[in-house]
């Protein structure tokens, strides 16, 4: 869902930017020799643009930080004790401590035995649910609140070598 909203914003934003460039580019004629006047008008618009950009950036920044997937944020959001699944990765396979997971809050403790991997959880429709990196010597604690039962797939999202694209497995939530 978040991907669709942001994707739509990305395309709409691109169209707006293109429209502005088109408008300015096609307004180059006729020449106005009073450049000072043109510049003053342009810089007046710039001031308004600055404040608009600041407002939009602040709102998006706050939304983004509140949506952080890190334990510090997620532990405050998730109610109840999470079901813990240990994820160990190595070229080119995933080892899960449980292949069947109950609905509700789950904490994946993700690490790697060899190189960097990316732990990406995909739903049955092929949409990316969430992700974290899997790095040797470090454990990424990824919280997910599963609300829909079904089969989920894990794909590697960090290039890890010649069979990176087939490093996948699945688990079931019920």
């Amino acid at each position: 869902m978040i991907q669709l909203i942001v994707g739509t914003a990305a395309v709409l934003g691109a169209l707006i930017i293109m429209a502005v460039f088109w408008k300015v580019g096609t307004s180059s004629m006729p020449r106005d020799d009073d450049y000072k006047h043109v510049a003053e008008a342009g810089y007046a618009i710039r001031r308004k643009y600055f404040w608009a950009l600041l407002a939009v950036s602040l709102v998006l920044f706050i939304i983004g930080v509140l949506a952080f997937p890190y334990p510090k944020v997620m532990e405050a959001k998730i109610k109840g004790e999470p079901f813990v699944v240990k994820i160990n990765s190595k070229q080119f396979q995933w080892d899960l401590s449980a292949a069947q997971i109950p609905l509700g809050p789950v904490r994946f403790d993700v690490t790697s035995q060899d190189v960097n991997h990316g732990f990406g959880i995909y739903d049955e429709k092929g949409g990316l649910v969430t992700q974290s990196q899997a790095m040797p010597d470090y454990v990424n604690k990824l919280y997910v609140n599963f609300t829909k039962p079904g089969k989920y797939k894990i794909w590697c999202l960090e290039y890890c070598g010649v069979a990176h694209h087939i490093m996948a497995t699945e688990f079931e939530v019920k």
């Binding site: 978040i2 914003a9 510049a39 342009g42 920044f61 040797p136």
Partner: protein, 478 residues
């Protein structure tokens, strides 16, 4: 400034431009072959796909970086007397190293991608030889050294002329505006950008030396997270620098076409110093899915990414629009490339901010190549090509032909098609760097490949036209 010096710089830039745009075209071609395989039109073995992916990313970055450095040098020729011998040696080293890098990749089957994330170079699961990893890292270190010498020269020469604090705009910020201390924008931006590049190269050299020690002595322990930070600080800044150098060129060349001045002032100086800080902070967004990074660093990463939008759009993009509006500019191919290049930078930057802001949804999906392909393939490279056109106009009096416009618009359609299909496939969850596309997402790769071939058509036109236009350039000694 000595006229013969200016002509010699233009001549050398012209030749380096020709070499790098051909190399750029070849490495794009390699990338499109890989994408064509991913789209299901042909079949490459996975190990070959990943070799091609590595060649494409390192080759495009290397050729574009070298080309745009030469164009920056060309744009600085009226203001700074850079050391020509040093430059020639630098370009020579890079040329030799790029050829060796290709050999290391093709003969040693090396394929880590440009990121060479530790410890992947040393754990190939049998895909590439150990010597290839060592050679690759060593050659990359040579490129870093050569680039540092070149950018160091810009900082030293600019500082001698304007004083260091003048060259980087601190005097302007302090309210001191004299001809002796205020550089033109191209010098100010090039100096700040070069400084930024030197810092990223220090990180790059550090990590490459550490990895080479590990290569020689596998028992030498390295912290994975620390190394990852260094690699992304190096790589992220380097690619942003390429765009910033391109923008510096726009500050110098666009006023020629618009017949209006674009001068340094306090706002320009503040904005480029802010850009320096923002780009240095924004690299951290590459590690947003590494949860052990300190929480405050993750907050700063997102903050830095949003911050980067301010100097870029509020000052530079609006400044370019003010320059162009009612200027009577004739939209020949060179200024069009520049103007569209700025547009692509703006859109690509906007997409980059969205990626950083909502990174958990997009990290390492095709959304990411979507944004950076736009500002490399239709941003930095457009300004690079604009400068090549400007050189042949200035030295050869060349006029645009139909093929020039055809090349521009074909490239535009191809590049925007590539970027948009990448971006949308990322929205629908397609991962990046897959030799065989994830089931159900193949259609996007097929469309990406088709648009890529339009870019190849455009590149053939652009390179052909550039070589044709070079014929009209008078001998340098005349």
């Amino acid at each position: 400034m000595d006229i013969s010096y200016e002509r010699r710089v233009a001549g050398i830039s012209m030749v380096i431009g020709a070499i790098t745009i051909v190399l750029f075209g070849v490495t794009i071609f390699i990338g499109i072959i890989a994408r064509t395989s991913q789209g299901g039109f042909i079949t490459l073995r996975p190990d070959v796909f990943y070799e091609f992916m590595t060649l494409h990313s390192v080759g495009v970055a290397g050729s574009l970086m070298t080309g745009i450095t030469a164009m920056m040098w060309y744009s600085l020729r009226k203001h700074l007397n850079l050391h020509m011998n040093l430059m020639q040696i630098m370009f020579g080293i890079i040329g030799a190293v790029v050829v060796s890098l290709l050999a290391a990749t093709l003969l040693g089957f090396y394929g880590t991608g440009w990121t060479f994330l530790y410890p992947l170079p040393f754990k190939s699961a049998g895909a590439w030889d150990d010597w290839a990893a060592g050679l690759y890292l060593l050659l990359l270190l040579c490129v870093v050294a050569a680039m540092t010498i070149s950018w160091g020269d810009v900082v030293v020469v600019a500082s001698k002329k304007y004083g260091f604090s003048g060259a980087v705009g601190w005097k302007l910020i302090a309210g001191i505006d004299t001809p002796q201390t205020t550089p033109p924008p191209v010098v100010l931006i090039s100096t700040i950008t070069s400084l930024c590049g030197i810092l990223s190269n220090i990180a790059g050299a550090t990590v490459l030396i550490l990895l080479l020690i590990h290569w020689a002595d596998p028992g030498f322990y390295l912290d994975y997270l620390y190394i990852k930070n260094l690699i992304y600080y190096f790589g992220h800044i380097l690619m942003n620098m390429a765009m910033y150098m391109a923008v510096a060129i726009v500050y110098e060349l666009m006023p020629i076409y618009a017949k209006r001045p674009w001068k340094s002032n306090k706002i320009v100086a503040i904005s480029w110093n802010a850009a320096f800080i923002a780009v240095s902070l924004a690299y951290m967004h590459h590690l947003l899915q590494d949860f052990p990074q300190p929480f405050i660093i993750q907050v700063i990463a997102v903050f830095g990414s949003y911050m980067a939008a301010f100097p870029a759009t509020v000052v530079t993009v609006v400044g370019a629009m003010v320059l162009v509006y009612r200027s009577g500019i004739k939209w020949t191919v060179a200024p069009l490339y520049m103007f569209i290049g700025l547009m692509s930078w703006t859109i690509g930057g906007f997409w980059a901010v969205l990626d950083a802001g909502f990174n958990n949804a997009f990290h390492n999906t095709m959304f990411v190549p979507g944004h950076f392909h736009l500002y490399l393939l239709a941003g930095t490279s457009f300004i690079f090509v604009a400068t090549l056109y400007n050189i042949t106009e200035e030295l050869g009096g060349c006029k645009d032909a139909f093929e020039d416009r055809l090349g521009l618009w074909a490239w535009f359609i191809g590049a925007y098609g590539v970027a948009l299909t990448f971006l949308l496939s990322g929205v629908f969850g397609a991962p990046r760097r897959y030799a065989v596309q994830m089931p159900g997402k193949e259609m996007w790769s097929a469309f990406g490949a088709l648009f890529g071939w339009i870019v190849i058509f455009a590149l053939i036109l652009v390179i052909g036209r550039y070589i044709t236009r070079l014929q009209k350039v008078k001998p340098l000694r005349s």
